[in-house]
Symmetry: C2
Subunit: 382 residues, 2 copies
Amino acid sequence: MPENILDDISHRRYNPLRGTWLLVSPHRTKRPWQGQQESPSRVTLPDYDPACYLCPGNKRAQGDSNPQYKSTFVFVNDYSAVKEEQAEYKQAEDSKDLSSLLLKADSVTGKCYVLTFAPNHNLTLADLDPSRILPVVQAWTEIYTAHLSPTSSLANVAQPTTLAPSGISITAPNAQYRWMQIFENKGAAMGCSNPHPHGQVWTTTGLPDEPAQELEQLKKYRHEHGGCSLLADYAKLEMEKEERVVFQNKTFLVVCPWWATWPFEVMIISKGHKRALVDFGDDEKRGFAEAIAEVTRRYDNLFETSFPYSSGIHQAPLEATEEEIEASHFHMHFYPPLLRSATVRKFLVGYELMAEPQRDITPEQAAARLRDCGGPLYREAL
Amino acid sequence: MPENILDDISHRRYNPLRGTWLLVSPHRTKRPWQGQQESPSRVTLPDYDPACYLCPGNKRAQGDSNPQYKSTFVFVNDYSAVKEEQAEYKQAEDSKDLSSLLLKADSVTGKCYVLTFAPNHNLTLADLDPSRILPVVQAWTEIYTAHLSPTSSLANVAQPTTLAPSGISITAPNAQYRWMQIFENKGAAMGCSNPHPHGQVWTTTGLPDEPAQELEQLKKYRHEHGGCSLLADYAKLEMEKEERVVFQNKTFLVVCPWWATWPFEVMIISKGHKRALVDFGDDEKRGFAEAIAEVTRRYDNLFETSFPYSSGIHQAPLEATEEEIEASHFHMHFYPPLLRSATVRKFLVGYELMAEPQRDITPEQAAARLRDCGGPLYREAL
Ligand SMILES: O=P(O)(O)O[C@H]1O[C@H](CO)[C@@H](O)[C@H](O)[C@H]1O
Ligand SMILES: O=P(O)(O)O[C@H]1O[C@H](CO)[C@@H](O)[C@H](O)[C@H]1O
């Protein structure tokens, strides 16, 4: 492999999915660390916490009570970043006026949901079998489907399912939104404000920058390569190379991408060209649940701690042109901050914010370590 | 002001300097916080720490000893992210080969410096008078000048100075580098690995993404507006509007930019069109030192703590076309994470990483609070 030299020298790698670069400095992990120590997460949370506003039966911050739910549970965020209704705002457009050029704003409406993964206060995705992650995948699919534009060509392709419904109830939004961001912040180090395992779903009228940038790159690749999908080609290439592969099953590939920014960053890619959750049949959903279980369990095993991360799904926008839908390729990102141990993380700070992201170990080294920590969850073996 | 409604509704603001958007949700600070607490920084560091590898006279991690320096001190980072010499690497270019398209890498060389601000282990920029920050500005100017391409039109414009030299000694690099990133990580929350106040300077053969993106936007504006500078126009506009201004003197404006991402993000902008440190005369350098003192002191006063941040200077590249030099406009960014108090920060995580940055208070509210905390450093008044 001619790339082996990259284990020893500083270099930049290109991220074709964002059109951006990152600096890799493989030799840099040896520097002394007198900085911040993360507190390793308490692994002794109770199964039920009477003070938790996500546990079944409990009262939430603004007074609503949770039902005695048995699987997943969804509700509208009591402190939503965007709302369905608000005062109108339209900026005066006057190209001669510097204000309209340099002080530009747009109103945004939307809806924010919270989704608990299980009734248990102490069971993270890493603790759940794929069969218990499946209802989460089902819930995501149901929420996505309920918000899809009726004019989208994706609106009528949902695969027939024999899976039990997730049990969540969703009231249709008042307006058509453009984008749905499904994500999870896990662990205090990633700003999680409640340890009860949960994710969030934010939908907005605008297409946010990050998916917009990916969509541009995917469209461009498709255009330049006769209709091929960048991520299908990339998955094929990684399966040949093997060195960045962490896990795979029939439908999904788990890799530390060539261009990974976070130390143990991972991407779950649909091997085939699937555009959104509605494109997956029951077996494929089971494959996705398995991939999530494999990632999260390996993460926890790596440093024998409840591994913090932010994760998120990128797929076709809710309201989209046919070109955008066809360019979309379903995938999920995991951005975990830990670098050396349960207590020493990587900070993406000064140089990273002012110049360009920088990483200290290679993605190949990260993948090798994650490949090696499959098997049962370390906590269960204890 | 028609913008007042933006205090109450969710909206997106445009950042013309990067060409990106951000989501503003002004009502969101009310949500309960059960997440991570930062430890308020110890304000009782000794003036000298025998175990610190930055204090005068001490041994560094790899055995070199620091001189008994009296002002600033610069040395090549013992764990540099980029180095002057390394093995050659050139990727085979073959456009038919998927690898060269999707696994793209470039070798990077360069030089990384560490710059201590003062001999005292416990004096941050907030503790220093402008007259003691001036040697830091001088040192930055000397480092920048020593690395400027001899063919750059900036190489011979350095203003005559009557200021004492900073005392640092710089050996010319072996190669010509394209970009110099001057930055500081302050505080454990921003990944600072040693509390002795210091900044860093990384120079590289490549132009990193962040300044490249700004330079594109600056060039475009200049082209579309008959040679004007986006940031000169912006500074003028903010001086008229006043609501985002934190501080100003003859040469520099300090604002919470319209498009600020971090809660108390601040930008120091040169009012006139200055392209780089070498464009400033002695009085202007004094003005810059004063602006830095005003920002850092106000930060510490805001929550009565040693306020963490990452800061960095953007100016003309070391090696640049005449067009790039003329488009460059000297400014300094401050990205501080604290949101509500000395212990509760803003996390830019799941939604921010997967979709788009999101902020909870408006830049106007942040500016008003920073305007109100001028005056002596709270620690001195105690
Ligand atoms: O160079 P330091 O202070 O050891 O390290 C700090 O700054 C670097 C540049 O922003 C980052 O890459 C590191 O993650 C951070 O801990
Ligand atoms: O919504 P939460 O969990 O209260 O808050 C967390 O996630 C949000 C979305 O990524 C961030 O904006 C917050 O800074 C973070 O603390």
